[in-house]
């Protein structure tokens, strides 16, 4: 593995892309081959779940390719668009009222762009406090001017929650690109890839483990598949995969394992929280046929990343004492 680390950056990139897209193409081909076989409904459902996860990995891989090919600025822009679409989906499914119009405009057209501008200009101090402090105070003020006291706290809290998860959480992923780590110049895209891979792996492993283990669910009313043991398996597999990928990160193998564990574990917890939210909104897959609008179900896909990115970002900063 140390030999891999000695390669030049462009050789590493080449190798990585061959491994990544080659592996994905192989898995997809096998999955397609198996999908031709006839089988029971239960297996079919499992296969569909697997295909959804596989698609998420493809999207993650393509995102990485774009971040790498087009540089930090374009990828920050890309993440801001994903943030926008996720927030749009979140707001669609929460019951906002007419009086919220101005606060929503503030969230979409001022807070969201500003947060990403702050990321792109590397004002990391402001980046950390802008949404939790200033926006937190500004939203209820604007909402109060909306002149509608009905369920005021509830509506304000929902908007703030959406901003925190979809904008603040997500913005930590492109912030990784701009971290100034020792002896790791211009390779921030690898950290983003590392994060996306371990989060996706943790989800897939957790899903597979819950099917095998059949443990008692930790919270039956929210998710029938989530148990502490399957969470642990998911995070552990993410850690092992993370350790195997240590050569693309600035870490040595053992810290890479810990980082993978932490990021994967918080990602699956994020997915768990989204399940609770979905249950509340009364939809199984956000944006499926049953929902209001036929959205694409993007929020589902990015929520684990929104939860894992801040934890991972601060772990990295803390580890290097930045």
């Amino acid at each position: 593995m140390d030999a891999l680390r000695e390669l030049t950056v462009s050789q590493q990139v080449g190798l990585l892309f061959v491994l990544l897209f080659g592996g994905l193409a192989l898995v997809t081909a096998i999955a397609f081959g198996r999908s031709l076989r006839e089988r029971s409904d239960e297996l079919l459902a499992a296969h569909q779940q697997f295909e959804r996860d596989l698609r998420a990995v493809w999207v993650g891989a393509l995102l990485f390719w774009v971040s790498w090919a087009l540089g930090a600025f374009v990828s920050t822009l890309l993440f801001s668009v994903i943030s926008f679409l996720a927030l749009r989906e979140f707001v669609t499914l929460t019951h906002t009222r007419r009086g919220d119009h101005r606060s929503l405009l503030l969230a979409f057209f001022i807070v969201l762009p500003l947060q990403y501008v702050v990321v792109a200009t590397r004002h990391f101090d402001l980046f950390t406090v802008f949404i939790p402090v200033y926006v937190f105070l500004a939203i209820p003020v604007v909402s109060a001017f909306g002149n509608d006291p009905t369920r005021f706290l509830e509506r304000t809290a929902k908007i703030q929650w959406g901003i925190t998860v979809c904008v603040y959480g997500m913005s930590h992923a492109p912030a990784l690109l701009l971290l100034d780590l020792p002896a790791y110049r211009d390779r921030g895209a690898f950290l983003v890839l590392y994060l996306v891979v371990v989060v996706a792996i943790a989800q897939i492993a957790q899903e597979a483990a819950s099917r095998r283990l059949r443990r008692r669910p930790a919270a039956r009313a929210i998710s029938r598949s989530f148990s502490w043991r399957s969470w642990f398996v998911g995070a552990l597999v993410a850690g092992v995969v993370g350790a195997a990928l240590y050569w693309i990160t600035p870490f040595t193998p053992f810290p890479a394992l810990l980082m993978g564990f932490v990021a994967g574990g918080s990602g699956t917890l994020g997915e768990f929280v989204m399940k609770a939210l979905k249950r509340d909104a009364g939809v199984r897959n956000w944006g499926g046929k049953s929902s209001v609008t036929g959205a694409v179900g993007l929020l589902d896909r990015v929520a684990p990343l929104c939860f894992a990115a801040p934890v991972f970002f601060h772990s990295v900063r803390w580890y290097f004492g930045l």
């Binding site: 707001v91 669609t92 049953s290 209001v292 609008t293």
Partner: protein, 205 residues
């Protein structure tokens, strides 16, 4: 590509970015035949949403209806409705010797498709208002044109009455099965049937 075409494309892109503008074709596939789409009316945004939900090549042959006094009052409004949307202008004041439906009938004689909002005005209560009789007269004069009901969902949240900037919230347009005017059908019966066909497309929340 000419400027109005590019502006139209840009507008459709913005509408999709803000609302998703998902078109669900439940009753009839999108097809380049002559049609009258009729839908519920909750917001100024309704027309743009239907237009953005249509496939690109249907946009060129599908025309909205615009009030002449308002939409020709400034050069910009006139340009938007005439050059981008190719709107059919109608006058709101009724003069004694002129049929207010005449511009619509002429557009249909030319083979264009129309989008009309038969409630006549925007309603922000949940239920659509009773339909005005224009739809009936058009159906009577052009029995061969397909009448497609459509339900526009969620758009009142995007731009409530009195606001000018739209908030990004996902909307959908559901198109239903074509309706035909039965021979000898009473006007009120037909209009109620048409309204029921629109309401039936509302997704369960």
């Amino acid at each position: 590509m000419k400027l109005p075409e590019a502006a139209g494309l840009l507008l459709a892109c913005v509408a999709r970015l803000i609302t998703g503008a998902q078109g669900h074709w439940l009753g009839a596939p999108p097809k380049a035949e002559q049609r009258i789409y009729f839908a519920n009316h909750q917001s100024h945004f309704d027309w743009v949403l239907i237009w953005a939900a249509l496939p690109g090549d249907l946009r060129a042959i599908t025309r909205p209806i615009a009030a002449r006094d308002y939409w020709t009052s400034t050069p910009l409004k006139h340009w938007i409705t005439r050059d981008i949307f190719n709107a059919v202008y109608v006058s709101r004041e009724r003069s004694a010797d002129e049929d207010p439906l005449e511009p619509l009938l002429e557009a249909l004689r030319n083979g264009d498709s129309l989008v009309i909002f038969p409630e006549g005005t925007r309603s922000d209560r949940g239920e659509p208002a009773p339909f005005k009789s224009g739809l009936y007269h058009l159906a009577e004069a052009f029995p061969e044109v397909a009448l497609i009901p459509a339900w526009i969902d969620n758009v009142q949240r995007v731009m409530p009455k009195g606001e000018v900037v739209p908030v990004p919230i996902l909307c959908s347009v559901t198109f239903g099965a074509p309706l035909t005017l039965q021979p000898g059908e009473d006007k009120r019966v037909f209009l109620d049937r048409a309204r029921a066909a629109v309401v039936a497309l509302r997704p369960a929340h």
